[in-house]
Amino acid sequence: MDRAEHELVSWLLDEHGPALVLYAQQWCDIPEDVVQESLMKLMAERPVPDNVVGWMYRVVRNTAVSASRAVKARSRHEQAAASQRHPWFQNSHDGSDTEFITARLASLPLEQREPIVLRMWSGLSFQQIAELVGVSTSTAHRHYQQGIERLRSMCESTTHTREANK
């Protein structure tokens, strides 16, 4: 690995490593392995793709989908337990809020959750999201808006319930 490749890998891991893990976690509970396998594929790719970020997200997506099929036979209870063992986000000052939003986010349908994850924590444009997911840009944006709105309504309703209980 020459210097340029080393810098590329370092930058990729620093800038997109956690987001790639979070993205892979939308399908499977072994996201670290998925990201590692995708990185190995990137290193074996000659020539190096022009759009490395987009290529990497696409490979992570495909690998995670394949991994999810492999563990499809596991029960829903086991999958939920595995998800709880590996929280998606770092704990904030009020950790309960993070867990609360994570639980609501995980309950969203995948078609709404995927653009939210890619937009919020990967920083991809809607055009990139559309190419990655395989829909039009307007569809990707619509799913994003619907997901955000649904998430917000879920959070607000729960907040109102909490305040009413107090």
């Binding site: 690995m1 490749e5 080393h6 890998v9 370092s10 891991l13 620093d14 490593g17 956690p18 987001a19 893990v21 979070l22 996201p31 670290e32 990201v35 590692q36 990185l39 190995m40 990137l42 290193m43 074996a44 000659r46 590996h86 929280p87 998606w88 986000f89 770092q90 904030s92 993070t98 939003i101 994570t102 939210i116 937009r119 919020m120 924590w121 444009s125 809607f126 055009q127 307007s138 944006h141 619509r142 808006q145 955000i148 709105e149 998430l151 917000r152 309504s153 959070c155």
Partner: protein
């Protein structure tokens, strides 16, 4: 408030300020970064980058060679098993010659040889087949039981004739017998020729 490449919102409830506030709140959540071992990944990436396609081809060649050996071993094993089965079946067939099946009174010359062979003590230096004239004028067949010869003679045809019926404990006789009808099978000269061929 939308990102720069976003079209304006449609069909969303709540004020844009609330919407933006919620998005900001979401963005403040940081994905976990402790799940990736950065140094290990860089090491693995470096190793993967130096594994050239030639190395991959070499690995594939090794796998192909291994498969070739496996195929050869499987073929040889199959051939050995087939030979063993064939030998076993052949041995079983020799125990009951075709002439004995269905009619015990009909015996082949080969069987006569086998019987005479079991009643005599032969030495390895004895010739396989020898003929001599007996007092009654017939030919004494002195032979040793040999599977190949049995089947060869049997395949010549006409061996299962009543004329060749052996006498128990007596050497087999070949030759003209005036008391019997002409044989359906080989004549004496034919037998002589067969024996000469064998010798």
């Amino acid at each position: 408030m939308n990102p720069p490449d976003l079209p304006p919102e449609h069909g969303t409830s709540g004020s844009p300020e609330d919407h933006a506030l919620f998005e900001t709140r979401l963005k403040d959540m940081v994905p976990r970064s402790d799940r990736l071992d950065r140094d290990r990944l860089i090491f693995l990436a470096g190793r993967a980058s130096v594994e050239s396609p030639a190395d991959v081809y070499a690995v594939m060649q090794t796998a192909r060679t291994r498969n070739r050996w496996s195929t050869a071993v499987a073929c040889l094993t199959t051939a050995a098993v087939m030979l063993l089965v064939f030998a076993f079946l052949n041995r079983e067939d020799n125990r009951t010659s075709p002439a004995q099946v269905g009619n015990d009174s009909i015996a082949t010359p080969a069987q006569s040889w086998r019987n005479s062979d079991s009643n005599r003590e032969g030495s390895p230096s004895d010739p396989p087949i020898s003929t001599k004239t007996n007092p009654s004028g017939g030919l004494d067949v002195d032979s040793r039981s040999t599977t190949t010869r049995d089947w060869h003679l049997f395949s010549v045809g006409g061996l299962a004739s009543h004329r060749d019926e052996p006498t128990s404990g007596q050497p087999h006789k070949l030759g003209p017998d005036p008391h019997q009808e002409p044989t359906r099978g080989l004549k004496t000269s034919d037998w002589q020729r067969v024996f000469d061929d064998l010798l």
